[in-house]
Each structure stands twice: as structure tokens, then as C-alpha cells.
């Protein structure tokens, strides 16, 4: 075998997170929930602190805390709050409280970087099962609710008139988001989870003509970023999570600039 076992596990972990995060990330982009993703991801560090304090599974702690944060934000939205400000406050205070909480725990300081930026090379077989289980759950949810989610995203009124409750669809996305955050901690870390949601979807936008194609292309971009980033980080000895996000960002720059140039060439009259 050419690859060592831990590299194989890292690659599979990266792929699992990538193909679940990208389609969900498309909805995050379409619904302008970028900050929402940030707040949910940052809340996870608080969950990690709680889990470590009570010797629980870090995955469960992160999942529960992300769910609480995502549900809170979801409930508050559309009630006349200035969402942009509120999300900014929640996202950053969740992170700050999480970091302070972690500092109370002895012996965790060394591990903190692993939770903030991920530790994909330390993924165990058990982690892999959790990641792929979570990814399958998220993909299943999205596939099941796809048409309703899309209608509700396009216009809540169109959804209501067809007998679809947009609040229920929002709940589906909230749940999926919490699961992705919980499984992605090990791979990219709390600080860069939102990037794995948004960057591949944004990179796919210029190449797509339908929502389905955008989600699919985003998944392909995320998967190649995960594999490319892993390889590059191994070659250059850089932290893996950030390298994966850098790879995705480079693809975003390429597709966005590329499509601009292409459009200019097609219609030279317009600039």
C-alpha cells in the first residue's frame, strides 16, 4: 500500500465532511446564512469544553451545543431583531466563552489547537464511522427534503401556498448544520467549518445553471480541496485543515475570475 493507514483515514475523513458540507453550504449561501454557520460552529467549542469537563464524547458535546445555538438563532430570526448584529454577537461570544471554559480544564491547553483548527491526521476508525454516519444523515435529510427546501428558500409564500411549512424546512437545515459542525471539528476545526460550507458552494456558483448542479459541483470542489489540501499539507508540512480551506479558496478565485474573463470574451461590447 502506497498510503500509510493514517493518511488513508485522513483522506476518507476529509471526503466525508466535504461531500456533506458542500450541498448544505449551497443552502447556507442561497439563504444568506453565512454568519449563522459561523455562530453554530463557534458554539461547538463551548460544547467541546463541556464535554471534556464531564468526560463525555466531544462529538456529542459539540452536537448538543451547536443544536442549541442553531435553534436559538433560528427562533430569534424573523422576530424583528437586527440579525446581522445579533449573529455577530452570538458567534464571537460563543467562541470567547468556549475558549475561557476550555482554559479552566487542566491538561487541555495542548489540545486546544486541535479543536480550533482540526487534527485530521489523528482521525481514528471510530471518528471515521461518526463522520461518515453524520455525512450520510445530512445527505439523506437534504435529499429527502430537497424540493421543499428549495421552494422554501426561493419564497416562503410559494412554499405555504403549496402546503409546505418553511419553518419546518428551516429546522431541517438547522439540524443538518449542527451535525456537519459536530463531525467537521476533527477535520477542519471550529474556526474553519464555516469556510468548508461556504467556499466550495461559492466556487461552484459560476459553473452552475441549476441548484442541483451547484450542489454537485460544490461537492466535487470540496472533495478535491480536501484531497489536494491533505497532499499539499503533507508535502509542505503545513496544518492540514487550513491547507484544505486554502485549496478551496484558490479554486474559488479560479472559477470566479475565469467566468468573468469568459463572459468578457463572449460579449466584448459589455465590460
Amino acid at each position: 500500500m502506497i498510503l500509510d493507514d493514517f493518511l488513508m483515514r485522513a483522506a476518507l475523513a476529509g471526503l466525508g465532511v466535504a461531500i456533506a458540507a458542500a450541498p448544505l453550504g449551497s443552502f447556507v449561501v442561497w439563504r444568506r446564512m453565512a454568519y449563522f454557520g459561523d455562530a453554530t460552529a463557534h458554539a461547538a467549542i463551548l460544547g467541546v469544553a463541556v464535554a471534556l469537563a464531564f468526560s463525555m464524547s466531544v462529538f456529542v458535546g459539540a452536537l448538543v451545543m451547536s443544536l442549541i445555538m442553531a435553534t436559538t438563532v433560528s427562533t430569534l430570526s424573523g422576530r424583528g431583531f437586527a440579525m446581522d448584529t445579533l449573529l455577530g454577537v452570538l458567534a464571537h461570544s460563543a467562541l470567547a466563552f468556549g475558549l475561557v471554559a476550555v482554559s479552566f480544564l487542566s491538561g487541555v491547553r495542548i489540545d486546544l489547537m486541535a479543536y480550533l483548527f482540526g487534527d485530521i491526521l489523528a482521525v481514528s476508525r471510530g471518528d471515521l464511522a461518526v463522520i461518515w454516519g453524520g455525512a450520510a444523515l445530512v445527505l439523506g435529510l437534504l435529499a429527502w427534503r430537497w424540493q421543499a427546501l428549495l421552494t422554501a428558500t426561493l419564497s416562503p409564500d410559494l412554499a405555504y401556498s403549496a402546503g409546505i411549512d418553511p419553518r419546518r424546512e428551516q429546522l431541517v437545515l438547522t439540524l443538518a448544520l449542527a451535525v456537519v459542525v459536530a463531525v467537521a471539528i476533527k477535520v477542519v476545526g471550529v474556526l474553519l467549518i464555516a469556510a468548508m460550507l461556504i467556499v466550495p458552494a461559492a466556487a461552484a456558483r459560476p459553473l452552475a445553471t441549476t441548484p442541483e448542479r451547484m450542489a454537485l459541483i460544490a461537492a466535487l470542489i470540496a472533495a478535491s480541496s480536501a484531497l489536494g489540501g491533505l497532499r499539499a499539507s503533507f508535502a509542505m508540512d503545513t496544518p492540514t485543515g487550513p491547507t484544505i480551506v486554502c485549496a478551496a479558496a484558490l479554486i474559488f478565485a479560479a472559477t470566479t475570475l475565469g467566468s468573468r474573463l469568459w463572459q468578457t470574451r463572449l460579449s466584448p461590447s459589455r465590460h
Binding site: 421543499a148 426561493l154 419564497s155 409564500d157 410559494l158 401556498s161 402546503g163
Partner: protein, 247 residues
Amino acid sequence: MRLIETDGVAVRLGGAMVLHDVSLAINKGEIVTIVGPNGSGKSTLLRTIIGAIKPVRGQIRRTPGLRIGYVPQKLHIDPTLPLTVTRFLSLPRRHAPAIVRAALEQAGLPDLRDRQMTDLSGGQLQRVLLARALMENPDLLILDEATQGLDQPGSAAFYRRIEEVRQEMGCAVLMVSHELHVVMSASDRVICLNGHVCCEGRPEIVAQAEEYRAIFGSGTQGALALYRHDHDHGHDHDHPHSHEPAE
């Protein structure tokens, strides 16, 4: 046969009571138009009927299995969402490509199949929105100021299409309109709304009603006169009307 019926419906938005004591019914196959001044709750009433707003009082009864086709006033599509016309027509339910193609033919837009929704002109968008609402063979078609932003010939053509649709599909039509002359010539029944139902009935009856004239004036900028030729004599009236929503 009644398709949908509201019974003493009251709606509160924010702190304000927007609708109160609204009781009305839509029957099979009729074209009903809601008129009323700005802020009279027309769009709110439509959104309540489709289920987007919960009334604080009263009931809404639908015949079981009622299919509603809804054409919103406007549709903002986020530029990050790629959406072709063909794909849009398959929301909320997927349809076979042949059916989508036939719907676009019928809407007079056969060439727009692969066009992005964000690239459509106002008139094209309206026709696509209508085509989508018709995909489900609705029993009741609901249009919220569907001709906003269209020029006169554009909106005239749009209402002719509505009339055709009613004849072909036999669906009832409930619409909100600002264009009184169109209302008068294209509706079976007019409901004049100002927080509550001021008056309703056949267009020529409503046009004579005091409550209606109090809101729109007797001349309605000559538009009515043009179509009915019987309101060209104005009579001012300064008697009081109580149209403030009772709190």
C-alpha cells in the same frame, strides 16, 4: 360549490390590526377581484388565505384537497441561486420534461427554457410565475397584483390570459388589483377591502356603492367612465364614512 371560505378573520401584523371581521367565500370557477387603497390589507388577506399568516381570530375553511396556484407580487431570487426557467417550473413538484415544455409553449415562452430566472424581463417573469402556478392544475388561482410593473398592453394581455386560463381549466381566480378598469371588465365579483369588507358584489353594483365611491371617488380618474360610460357625471359627497379599523 365553495372552494374556500373565511369566517370573521382578524389578522394582526406587528402591533397593528390589519384585518378584522373578514368573511368571504370563493366559489368554483368565478373570478373575484379584491380592490382597496394602499395599506387596506389586500396582500395580507391573500397571504392569510394561502396559510402564510395565522389569523388571530376567525377561521379559514378549505374544501379538502384544494389545490392553490399562487402568483406572488414579486419574486426576489438571490443571485447566488442558479435557476433556469425549466427548473423553476418543477417547484414544488417535479414534472416530466414534456409537460414543462408544453407549459412553456402555452405561456408563449418556448424559447426561454434554459434562460436564468434572474435574466427575465418583467413581463416574461410574470408569465413564468403564472405558468408555474398552473402546473398543478389548481382549483383556485391566487394573484397578488400580478401586473405590477407591466405597461398597459402588457397587463391587458396578462388579464386576457387569465380569462383564457379560467375557460380552459375551470379554476376560480382570486386576485388583487390596482387597475380598476381591468377589474370592472374582467371580474365576476369585486370585493372592496379596507381593513374589513366594505362592500362586495357584481362590478357594476360595487361601482355604485357608497363605500366604494368613498374610497375611490366617483370618477376614478375617468377609467370607469371609459369602460362603462355611465359614471361620467360626478357627484361629490362629503358625508362621513367609518373606515378606520376598530381597535
